[in-house]
């Protein structure tokens, strides 16, 4: 579903070129869930941006559902995102001037799906906030906003879902609820999930974990699912 080859990202700074990503090579199978973990500034968000086609790499290749993302221009990448990708963000990223229902309808409308409203109502019900359909984001609690964001991510039945710290802004209870919802929906719809987090517990719920350290991505092999931190054996991510 996703495959990268020698993916490099450098940026210019006042002190010269800075390589944010070392050559990154890995692949993800359809339906897999992957957690990318790492400290702040390690390059996880940069990688997520590249994988989702939000940003362009300095060199290397990215294949998304057999489409050469690295060869596509901004417009083509946008179309690809609309049709195949869903997003969930730490800060929810709902459009403040649209209601919950309209926020959910938005991706469906952008790619021209029929009956966006009915679809949105259905998925809103699935995430359990149908009573908040007519509310604006600032009238919703954090947990509710993230549920709406999840509903928005699933409305187009994306093949791949990118989630950036989806529980980062939520309290423990809401985090738990959102996590459950996210994984349940993911399972039901066989979506490939790429999740960026620094929450080890959340990461452990994924099929695989990739750790990002100073721009280098390594696969984390967990010996004990209940004690992910205790024994780690680094291994070069699959080449």
């Amino acid at each position: 579903m996703i495959k990268t080859k020698d993916l490099i990202k450098t940026v210019s700074t006042s002190e010269g070129e800075l390589q944010i990503l070392q050559p990154v090579n890995f692949s993800v199978e359809a339906g897999e869930s992957i957690a990318i973990i790492g400290a702040s500034g390690s390059g996880k968000s940069t990688l997520l941006g590249l994988l989702a086609g939000l940003d362009t790499a300095t060199s290397g290749e990215i294949w998304l559902d057999d489409a050469p993302l690295h060869d596509l221009d901004e417009e083509a990448r946008a179309q690809l995102r609309g049709e195949k990708v869903g997003f969930i963000f730490q800060s929810f990223m709902l459009v403040p001037s649209l209601t919950a229902l309209e926020n959910i309808m938005l991706p469906a409308e952008i790619i021209g799906l029929d009956n966006p409203k009915a679809r949105a109502l259905a998925v809103l019900k699935q995430v359990g906030v149908e009573h908040r359909a007519g509310h604006y984001p600032n009238q919703l609690s954090g947990g509710e906003q993230q549920r709406v964001a999840i509903a928005r991510a699933f409305i187009t039945s994306p093949k791949i879902l990118f989630a950036d710290e989806p529980t980062g802004n939520l309290d423990a209870q809401n985090s738990h609820n959102v996590e459950t919802l996210l994984f349940d929906l993911n399972k039901q719809s066989h979506t490939t999930l790429i999740l960026v987090t620094h929450d080890p517990e959340l990461a452990q719920k994924c099929d695989r974990q990739l750790a990002m350290t100073a721009g280098e991505l390594v696969e984390v092999i967990s010996n004990n699912a209940s004690d992910g931190n205790s024994a780690q054996q680094d291994q070069e991510a699959s080449a």
Binding site: E74, A78, R81, F87, S91, M93, L94, S97, G112, N138
Partner: protein, 853 residues
């Protein structure tokens, strides 16, 4: 994608734009930008609609002075075909034939100013008849019937006639039926002292006074739609001989009233231009804020797969919806505002009864659209360039950013609008260039301020230090804000000072006690008696000036033909245009008030002994404009024939004369030595309060041969127009002030988004409300103070340019505004800032933090 899907995607931008528009409008998020557009449209519409109506009324008033919208005059009979032609252009016409002639009655005779008018005369204004001699005139719609003559009050005295008596004019006899008080284009000149007689046009032929050798003036009057008048003139123009025919329009009126109206029009234009600039600034500020608030939604939509063209369409639709709503609401508000003002000023300000004009609406819509488009363009281009990556990295902003480009577009748009609207490149450039100077000064001062802040803002962090820290940190943002504050204050100052100066100069023209009566033909013998008699009655005469008529003989060595025939007359004027054959001369060694020597030396020190002039040549001082017209200047010799004597003078000084004072003024002032051999007649003027008017007959009784002119009515007319225009200007001042204040509010509001974030952090960190409040107040006080000071500086520059180049006024420094502007700026901006922050500070920290996210 199916066809249906394609249709859906195509209609998406409009639907989405509509949805965003609806929600944002409902939630008040569009209020600032919408308000700015409403403001621009309403201000421009109400100002131009009001000024159009006022101008309509004022033009009508001025038209009364030429008795029509246009006047064609000539020394020859006008072609009757032209009058017929005018009618085909849907114009109303009237005619007048005038000449000087002798009137006989009761064995007395008098030289009269004979006017014969057609039935439709006057097309504008009205003939006024007095119920008794010298009484105030009452308007009539009649003209004399054939065989009737209406006589000036003076003529009743001179000829000893009463109503019903017969008088002879040329070969015809007339019955005196009315006392003529005034006619609209009667004109006024102390030197053309002949009393007027009004008769019917049909009677003129019978009098035989217009035959060869007589000086007759033929006039045709036209009124109608402005376009028809122009079209008629274009058609008539090739048939006119510029040396014979004179085409006069209301705009050519150079009387004090004409000049007041012209100046008022310039002021309205200026005020409207400034209103446009203010509105444009408001829209620019609001558009920037609008774009910034949509950075996230654009990034989200792009992330969700929306193409750039979809986003572009969404926002272009959105801006169109906002502009459309703004224009509609602005039109309604502007119209109502103007209507309210008209009714509030009813009784003081006379406006045209026609309530609707299309031109102001078109200008308002044009302004609204151009402002919305050009001032939103750059913020929108920035908005379109927001990369989708912003959803992950919030610090990423627009990739398209060109402040330079933005300023050039905005500046260009302002200049274009000014030019299109005023059709006056000069006034537009003056305002624009002074704006640019201000911007340059402000940028320099902002950086100076930041340097100053490093010194002033030292010490333990308190409200004062916090204020300086904020100013320092956001130097560029602050400089932009400072510039817009200063521009707003400057524009307000310009309008305020111009209004004060204009109104003051008008009032100065006719101060209380301005002479309202003129006396002419006072003899040498009567002079001391008259002065004494008037003094005894508590009336000051304005000095008695000797007058004599002199006929030009030579200018240097160039002989002026005095035996010219009628046909040659104007050809002579062609080379020495301006005065005809004769001039009124006075002589004095004392320079009259309102006169100023601009070249040479006033001749009070001259004596025949110290003279550097050739023997028998005396000094003369000439008025500047007559010198230009006659192409004579310093050192030129003029030879006059006075009585049967020849007097030669040389121009030793040139004067400017304030013609707007109601006192006798002269083109030529000779040294008294030149005139010692002549008997003089004197003229003078005096002020008599209205309540003493009944004393006039008694006052003048001992001086029956002295001619008196009552200009009270004329002065009151000028005063009432000046009062009206002043009241109208006051309204415009208030409107511009309101517009300016709203712009300031918009600016403060726009800066609140960022402040909100900072306030939330400070509150979270436990800063006391009072400290935050004080710091915000200090910050705005400092910005307001500097903006006010800079505005006062730029105000002087633009006022100097405007007054000297556009309004033809004396310019002066306005030092009081150097104090008033910074203080007012500091207080107003400080208060606005405080008021806006108060709302934020009254929220609890949780809400503030929530709003931040």
């Amino acid at each position: 994608m199916s066809n249906l899907d394609t249709v859906r995607v195509k209609t998406l931008p409009r639907q989405l734009a509509w949805r965003l528009f609806k929600h944002e409008a409902k939630r008040g998020e569009l209020s600032i930008i919408l308000f700015a557009i409403i403001l621009s449209v309403a201000a421009v519409l109400s100002l131009s609609l009001f000024s159009e109506r006022l101008q309509g009324a004022l033009t009508d008033r001025s038209a009364e002075f030429i008795a029509a919208d246009r006047q064609l005059s000539a020394r020859h009979p006008l072609d009757p075909l032209w009058i017929a032609q005018a009618k085909t252009f849907s114009l109303a016409t009237a005619e007048q034939t005038s000449t000087r002639s002798m009137a006989f009655a009761n064995d007395e005779l008098a030289l009269v100013d004979l006017r014969a008018v057609s039935d439709t005369y006057p097309l504008k204004g009205s003939i006024k008849l007095a119920p008794e001699l010298f009484a105030t005139g009452v308007a009539t719609t009649q003209i004399p019937q054939t065989g009737e003559a209406w006589l000036d009050s003076r003529l009743f005295q001179l000829l000893g006639v009463t109503i019903g008596d017969a008088i002879e004019l040329g070969d015809a006899s007339f019955t005196v039926t009315q006392i003529l008080s005034e006619i609209p284009d009667g004109g006024f000149s102390v030197f053309n002292a002949d009393p007027m007689v009004l008769i019917n046009q049909q009677d003129i032929a019978a009098t035989n006074v217009t035959g060869p050798g007589s000086r007759v003036n033929y006039k045709a009057y036209f009124t109608g739609d402005e376009n028809d008048l122009e079209a008629f003139f274009d058609a008539l123009s090739p048939q006119l001989d510029r040396q014979i025919h004179r085409w006069l329009s209301v705009q050519d009126d150079t009387s004090p009233i004409g000049e007041s109206v012209a100046r008022a029009e310039q002021f309205f234009l200026l005020a409207s231009l400034l209103a446009i600039v203010l509105a444009a600034v408001a829209i620019g500020v609001a558009a920037q804020r609008y774009a910034q608030r949509h950075f996230d939604p654009v990034a989200i939509m792009k992330t969700l797969g929306a193409s750039t063209s979809t986003i572009r369409k969404v926002y272009l639709y959105q801006i169109s919806f906002i502009a459309l709503l703004g224009i509609i609401l602005g039109t309604i508000v502007g119209f109502l505002l103007q209507q309210i003002v008209v009714s509030a000023l009813a009784g003081t300000v006379e406006v045209s009864l026609q309530v609707w004009y299309w031109r102001p609406l078109l200008i308002a819509i044009f302004t609204g659209s151009v402002c919305a488009l050009l001032f939103c363009l750059y913020p929108l281009l920035g908005l379109f360039s927001i990369p989708p990556l912003r959803v992950l990295r919030r610090d990423i902003s627009a990739t398209f950013s060109s402040r330079g480009g933005q300023y050039i577009t905005a500046g260009g748009a302002i200049l274009l609008m000014m030019w299109v609207y005023s059709q006056n490149l000069k006034i537009s450039l003056i305002l624009f260039v002074s704006g640019l100077i201000l911007v340059g000064l402000l940028l320099a001062s902002t950086f100076g301020l930041i340097a100053l802040g490093r010194v002033l803002g030292k010490g333990r962090m308190g409200a004062w230090q916090l204020a300086w820290a904020r100013i320092k940190r956001r130097s560029l943002d602050n400089s932009v804000q400072l510039i817009s504050f200063a521009l707003t204050i400057m524009l307000l100052l310009v309008v305020l000072v111009m209004r004060n100066d204009i109104v003051q100069q008008w009032r100065d023209q006719l101060p209380q006690g301005t002479a309202n009566y003129f006396l002419a033909n006072v003899t040498e013998e009567q002079r001391p008696k008259l002065v004494e008699h008037f003094a005894k009655n508590g009336i000051d005469t304005d000095g008695l000036y000797p007058v004599s008529r002199g006929r030009f003989v030579k200018v240097n060595d160039e002989l002026i033909r005095t035996d010219i025939t009628k046909e040659d007359e104007d050809t002579t004027n062609e080379t020495r245009r301006g005065l005809g054959r004769e001039a009124n001369l006075t002589w004095d060694t004392q320079l009259q008030s309102g006169n100023e020597i601009i070249a040479g030396q006033w001749h009070d020190q001259w004596t025949p002994q110290n003279s550097t002039l050739p023997e028998g040549v005396y000094p003369v001082s000439i008025e500047e404009r007559v010198g230009e017209r006659m192409r004579i200047g310093m050192g030129d010799e003029l030879t006059f024939n006075i009585g049967s004597e020849i007097v030669t003078v040389q121009i030793t000084s040139v004067r400017t004369v304030n013609w707007q004072t109601m006192q006798p003024n002269f083109f030529f002032v000779l040294h008294p030595a030149a005139m010692s051999q002549f008997r003089a007649n004197y003229i003078t003027s005096f002020y008599l309060p209205p309540e003493r008017k009944p004393e006039l007959t008694r006052l003048m009784a001992p001086f029956a041969s002295v001619t008196m002119f009552d200009v009270d009515a004329r002065i009151n007319q000028v005063r009432s127009i000046i009062d009206q225009v002043s009241a109208a200007i006051e309204f415009i001042l208030v409107l511009v002030l309101v517009a300016g204040s709203l712009v300031l509010v918009a600016q403060v509001q726009a800066s609140m988004d960022e402040r909100q974030r900072e306030l939330a952090i400070l509150r979270t960190l436990g800063a006391k409300g009072m400290m935050i409040r004080l710091s915000v107040i200090y910050e705005f006080l400092i910005i307001g103070l500097v903006a006010g000071f800079m505005a006062a500086l730029a105000n002087e520059v633009s006022l100097y340019l405007l007054q000297t180049n556009v309004f033809q006024m004396q310019s002066s420094l306005h030092l009081e505004y150097w104090v008033i502007a910074p203080i007012t700026g500091a207080v107003v901006v400080g208060l606005l800032g405080a008021a806006s922050c108060w709302r934020l500070l009254s929220m609890n920290t949780q809400v503030l933090l929530r709003k931040m996210l």
